[in-house]
Structures are given as structure tokens and as C-alpha cells.
């Protein structure tokens, strides 16, 4: 009996865990009903932009996820801009002009961010070289 219950609990846990993984992303947003645009295509655009914009108050959340009043203001501003016919790039530029690159969750590739973008690659290469050399030595030793 205990064994059966145990299996059931494990099974349920797995289902909850999978649900968390697959669905959390889709439901984790703070867009309020009155914010949603009638034009579906425009709403998708607004949501996509919002996902790339950092909430300056909470810092590690996008404005799409955040309940902060400033995040809401920025979501509404993005929707207003889309309604008045602005391109995505124009909206990003508008926000960067006021809040700096920090407002973009993904830092842009420029000379000042080269290290940020390419250091992981350098470390990966160093790691591969170290492992290869180590293996070579090991094989040589074994052969001898």
C-alpha cells in the first residue's frame, strides 16, 4: 500500500515539475486586461518588445514580468507607440535614449561589451586546450 502511494506521489511530483517547466514561461507576465490591445498582431509585438526591456526598479525582471508601476507605464508607452505607427527599432531607441543600454536585457554588441560577449568563448577555448593537452600527456604516458 505504502509502495503504491509512494509511486503516485512521485508521479504527481513529476507532473507538477514538468508543468512548471513548460507553462511557467507563458503565464509569467503582469500585463493587465485593460492594457491588452485589440489588434492581436500589435499586442504580440508589444509583448515581444516588453520581454526585452528591463524593469529599472526590479532590475532582473523584464517589464513584461514586473508589477512595478514604472513597468506598467512603460508597457502602456510601448503600446501607444505601436498604435501611433512606430517601428520596433524606433521604440527601442526611444527607451535607450532615456535609460541607457541597461534597459535592454540583452546587451548590444559594441566595443565596450566585447569582453562580455567573447570572454566565455575564450574561457571555453582555454578549457578545451587544457583538456586536450592533459589527455595527450595521459595517452603518451600510457603508450610508454
Amino acid at each position: 500500500m505504502l509502495n503504491k502511494n509512494y509511486k503516485l506521489i512521485v508521479f504527481l511530483n513529476i507532473i507538477v515539475f514538468l508543468n512548471l517547466i513548460f507553462f511557467s514561461q507563458n503565464f509569467l507576465h503582469s500585463v493587465e486586461p485593460e492594457e491588452i490591445m485589440l489588434n492581436k498582431e500589435q499586442e504580440v509585438r508589444a509583448r515581444n518588445i516588453s520581454k526585452n526591456i528591463r524593469c529599472m526598479v526590479c532590475q532582473n525582471q523584464s517589464i513584461d514580468d514586473s508589477n512595478a508601476p514604472l513597468a506598467k507605464d512603460l508597457r502602456l508607452l510601448i503600446r501607444d507607440k505601436i498604435k501611433s505607427g512606430h517601428e520596433n527599432k524606433e521604440i527601442y531607441d526611444f527607451l535607450v535614449e532615456r535609460y541607457g543600454d541597461f534597459i535592454l536585457l540583452k546587451p548590444p554588441l559594441k566595443s565596450s561589451t566585447f569582453a562580455l560577449w567573447f570572454m566565455p568563448l575564450v574561457f571555453l577555448l582555454i578549457g578545451i586546450i587544457v583538456i586536450l593537452r592533459h589527455n595527450k600527456k595521459y595517452i603518451n604516458k600510457k603508450n610508454n
Partner: protein, 179 residues
């Protein structure tokens, strides 16, 4: 040779640890973000004025003298706390202070100023928070120094404390000396 292989990563690890420790103990505040508007012109905006019947137009108000711009609201506790320093800027230092009232109630603002004193030569009303966005404001109170050419020279996000009061004063002196 084998020893060296183990020591190098250890040294490297210690270096990383030390750099983290340095960042931790240094006075760096991750919430104090640099403003993107430094050395740029004041944003152009037009809005209602609290005490005057005419519109507040940024084009007319900036560019003649050094001005302190203070974003505030009556519902914001740090704004209450910093008010005495804003009063000092206006009365002791004789600096023109323009207030931008953020998402507030006109009646409450008038009561607030009656009770604590009014340091502002003028108050622009930002009902929807859009003017604040144009200034790159991310949390009030925020205080900006605008020079006599209408260029933003400094921004402090958060409450003005004694330390910040002194800092702003020294920047104000610097700017007026340059002129």
C-alpha cells in the same frame, strides 16, 4: 609540472574571489544607475503648472540660469524626508528649484507645501508619469542639476541626504565657476 597544473587554477580562482570581495566591500551601489541624460539638453515637454494658469513649457523655463529639478510626490516618504534640503537649496543657496510633481493630487500637494514650505519657484504636473520617463526617472525622488545652457549636468536618484546635499552644492559651485 604536475604541481603547477593544480596551482594555476587555484591562483585563478583566488583572483576571481578577490575581485568579487573588492566589488562587495567597495561603495558600489547596483541600484544607483548612471543617467543617460548627462550632458544632454533638457527634454522638451509642455504640461500644466500647479500655481499658474499658463502652461509650463520646458523650452521657456530652461537655459537662462542654473536650475535644480526635483521630481517629488506627496505619497512618497523619502520626498518628505528630503524636503528640508530642497528648502535649503532655495533659501540658503539661492538656487532656482523647479518641482515636477509625479502622479499626485493637486490638493494634497498644496497642503503638503503649506505645511512644509514651498521651495519651488514653479511646479510642473506630471499626471501620467510620461515626463518622468522622458527624464529617465526610475524612482522618485530624483534631483537633476541643469546648467545655464539648459544641459543636464548631474542626476541623483533617491532621497537627498546631508552627504548628497553637500555633493550637489559642490557641483553647483563648480558649474557656476565654469560660467
Amino acid at each position: 609540472m604536475k604541481k603547477k597544473f593544480f596551482i594555476l587554477p587555484l591562483i585563478f580562482f583566488l583572483l576571481i574571489l578577490l575581485s568579487f570581495l573588492y566589488i562587495l566591500v567597495s561603495e558600489r551601489d547596483p541600484y544607483n544607475l548612471p543617467s543617460n541624460l548627462i550632458n544632454r539638453n533638457v527634454p522638451i515637454f509642455e504640461t500644466d503648472s500647479l500655481f499658474k494658469n499658463e502652461k509650463f513649457s520646458s523650452k521657456q523655463k530652461f537655459g537662462e540660469e542654473i536650475i535644480l529639478v526635483n521630481f517629488f510626490a506627496t505619497w512618497c516618504k523619502p520626498c518628505h524626508d528630503e524636503h528640508k534640503y530642497i528648502m535649503d537649496f532655495a533659501n540658503k543657496e539661492k538656487i532656482k528649484v523647479i518641482g515636477i510633481n509625479y502622479k499626485d493630487n493637486d490638493k494634497k500637494v498644496k497642503e503638503f507645501l503649506k505645511k512644509l514650505g514651498n521651495p519651488y519657484s514653479e511646479i510642473a504636473i506630471d499626471r501620467k508619469g510620461r515626463i518622468a520617463i522622458d527624464w529617465g526617472v526610475y524612482g522618485i525622488p530624483e534631483t537633476f542639476i541643469v546648467n545655464s545652457e539648459g544641459v543636464i549636468k548631474y542626476r541623483h536618484a533617491g532621497q537627498v541626504t546631508k552627504k548628497i546635499y553637500k555633493k550637489i552644492n559642490s557641483i553647483l559651485n563648480e558649474i557656476s565657476n565654469v560660467k
